[in-house]
């Protein structure tokens, strides 16, 4: 990192604080926790400024630091909650699951065309709102798998759950997201 940048972290706040704050808030869903994580990120960046490679994106570097903090927090939070495996054990015994690896044949049909909606940025803002309304464990599973792009083996190992349990959590998260997206998107278009 250049000496000027290393000595001018206040500029980082002007340029990157909003971006980092939204990134953290979408994943941890707690304003004060997100603020603390952004602060820790800036302090960690000051500490390791010498390791920043010239020519790389400053924002990408800061997001990299924040991402580790977010994932660490999620892992710790999930480890502290008790896992109820009863429902998953029942699922594992079902013929459908044993034969096809899926928990149900008939998830609800979409009432909107989701792929067309994804092209609209307003829909992604609704997606962000819906993400914030998921139940904690479903939010965790969806965030780690789909947003943080962690593979299932890593998530299961870190969270101490079976792949089937993760599959169920993701399935529930998708259903809840779908319901929320449809409700909010249809209502929004009605009021426009």
């Amino acid at each position: 990192m250049t000496t000027e940048s290393a000595l001018n972290p206040e500029r980082w706040i002007d340029e990157h604080a909003d971006f980092l704050y939204r990134y953290a808030l979408t994943r941890v869903r707690d304003h004060s926790l997100a603020e603390d994580m952004v602060q820790e990120t800036f302090l960690a960046a000051i500490k390791s400024a010498a390791r920043f490679k010239e020519g790389l994106s400053e924002r990408a570097w800061l997001v990299g630091i924040l991402k580790h903090k977010v994932v660490d927090h999620i892992r710790k939070a999930v480890r502290e909650t008790v896992v109820d495996q009863t429902e998953v054990l029942e699922l594992e015994k079902s013929k459908l699951f044993q034969w096809s690896g899926i928990p149900t044949m008939r998830p609800e049909k979409w009432h909107i065309n989701p792929r067309r909606a994804f092209e609209q940025k307003e829909f992604l803002a609704v997606f962000q709102q819906c993400l914030m309304t998921l139940k904690p464990r479903e939010h965790t599973a969806f965030t780690l798998r789909e947003l943080e792009d962690q593979d299932t083996d890593t998530i299961c190992k870190e969270l101490g759950i079976t792949p089937n349990h993760l599959w169920v959590m993701l399935h529930r998260a998708r259903n809840a997201l779908k319901t929320c997206l449809e409700t909010k998107w249809i209502n929004r278009n009605r009021t426009d």
């Binding site: 290393a6 000051i46 947003l147």
Partner: protein, 88 residues
């Protein structure tokens, strides 16, 4: 030849667009035609697409997704970094 379990396994471990072209075609074909797992896996793929679009908009700092940090917090952060000298 794709079977339902192979599709479930592939979609659990990867995002479908990351798969090599030939595998992706086979997977999509199975999902289009399968009466058992098709509907379920189409749902999985739609949500993977949603997350992918969101991730891209997020990385581009799309104004629709912005949640500004409170100014008071920014002021506090500036105080905090001002008093923390960089490591030698």
């Amino acid at each position: 030849m794709w079977r339902c379990k192979h599709v479930a396994d592939a979609l659990a471990k990867h995002h479908y667009w990351e798969l090599p072209w030939a595998r992706r075609v086979g997977l999509k074909l199975h999902v289009c035609l399968c009466a058992v797992c098709g509907r379920f896996h189409r749902q999985v793929m739609v949500m993977q697409d949603a997350a992918h679009h969101f991730h891209e908009a997020e990385a581009q700092d799309d104004p629709h997704l912005r949640i500004p940090m409170p100014e008071e917090t920014k002021r506090r952060l500036k105080e905090a970094v001002r008093t923390r000298p960089p490591a030698p």
